[in-house]
Symmetry: C2
Subunit: 201 residues, 2 copies
């Protein structure tokens, strides 16, 4: 029944070996809130037994590593309610229905940081929580920044600052950056930057 | 009302600046399944307005970067139902009620990979999805591995293999590793290993 109309999961990118495959028997929404869409499916396990899988259906998100001409990166400090803490993060946001991911990236950059981005370079794709969410985050390097003024959504409170890559890596090693998407994007950016020095095409 | 008995979020680690703080007004479980515990809270926003926050309450998890004497790392291939794909991952698992995280790490290593771990060295702590889960993952480097035979949970299907750090980083750069906890732990391990060469104490 995989791929039926009420199956909210992404299409399988290729054949899954039968020794792994879990086949959907049926399923239903168990909570549909303002933010979260939670499903519970009954599945056929590889050994023929039945099991239950519960997960969040997510529209996908984007993240931008915004690079200033001097090489510093723009980051945000934002309170995150579930963990009751302020986190240091790269700008990121959910893809709106029908929106192209690069448009989401440009929109979120302006809304959250007040910078328009000239060039978006695909950096990596990450799945933040493969055990209980369909979420995928497309990460971009953003270059050619131009200040245009921020326009935060109602209910969004954050502060923007610029930090050098060295300072960000030091903060990472001190445990001060623990948001997985930001850790991953920062370290993938360091790998990418080693192959693409500032000032080269 | 933060910190009341029915508030499942972690305690605040320090004072949150008032310009960021979101104060819990009330809240309730909206879905309590076999795997997921989902809450919806009403909150007071910094500007005095009220808002809604929905999130998963998670007991926390551990991850181990298991290092063989020859420097190769043990990884797993496992089907992840929400994304309908097999992922390459480091061994990881949820902390049982009352369990010390290091005990979880040792238990999951034996259950999933069949290796007992002599030494667990704290590597980093990451939060996989700060916008809608309380989950934190404590990551360890695991050394002094001894094969004792795996004992998978019912309904768990995975394959274990050993790969060099170079091969894992090449897979990462090809986009073949996209699980955020595994990406982060691998890259943090590479940083850690540069300061702790194999064979040094």
């Amino acid at each position: 029944m995989t791929g039926s109309d009420d199956d909210p999961r992404p299409s399988a990118p290729g054949s899954v070996p039968p020794r792994f495959a879990e086949t959907r028997l049926d399923g239903q929404p168990v909570f549909q809130g303002a933010l979260l869409d939670v499903r519970r499916d009954r599945v056929r396990l590889p050994d023929g037994a039945t099991g239950v899988r519960e997960y969040v259906v997510h529209p996908g998100a984007v993240l931008v590593v915004p690079v200033l001409p001097d090489g510093r990166l723009i980051v945000e400090r934002q309170f995150r309610y579930p963990l009751q803490r302020v986190f240091l993060e790269f700008p990121a946001g959910k893809i709106d229905p029908g929106e192209a991911p690069e448009d989401t990236a440009r929109r979120e950059m302006i809304e959250e940081t007040g910078y328009a981005v000239e060039r978006l370079i695909p950096l990596t794709v990450l799945h933040p929580v493969i055990s209980y969410s369909t979420e995928a985050i497309r990460c971009y390097v953003g270059e050619g920044l131009r200040e245009v003024g921020a326009a935060l959504d109602a209910g969004e409170y954050l502060e923007v600052e610029a930090m050098s890559v060295d300072d960000l890596c030091a903060a990472l090693d001190r445990g001060e950056i623990s948001d997985a998407k930001t850790m991953t994007a920062l370290l993938m950016y360091v790998r990418w930057r080693a192959r693409h020095p500032v000032g080269t095409p």
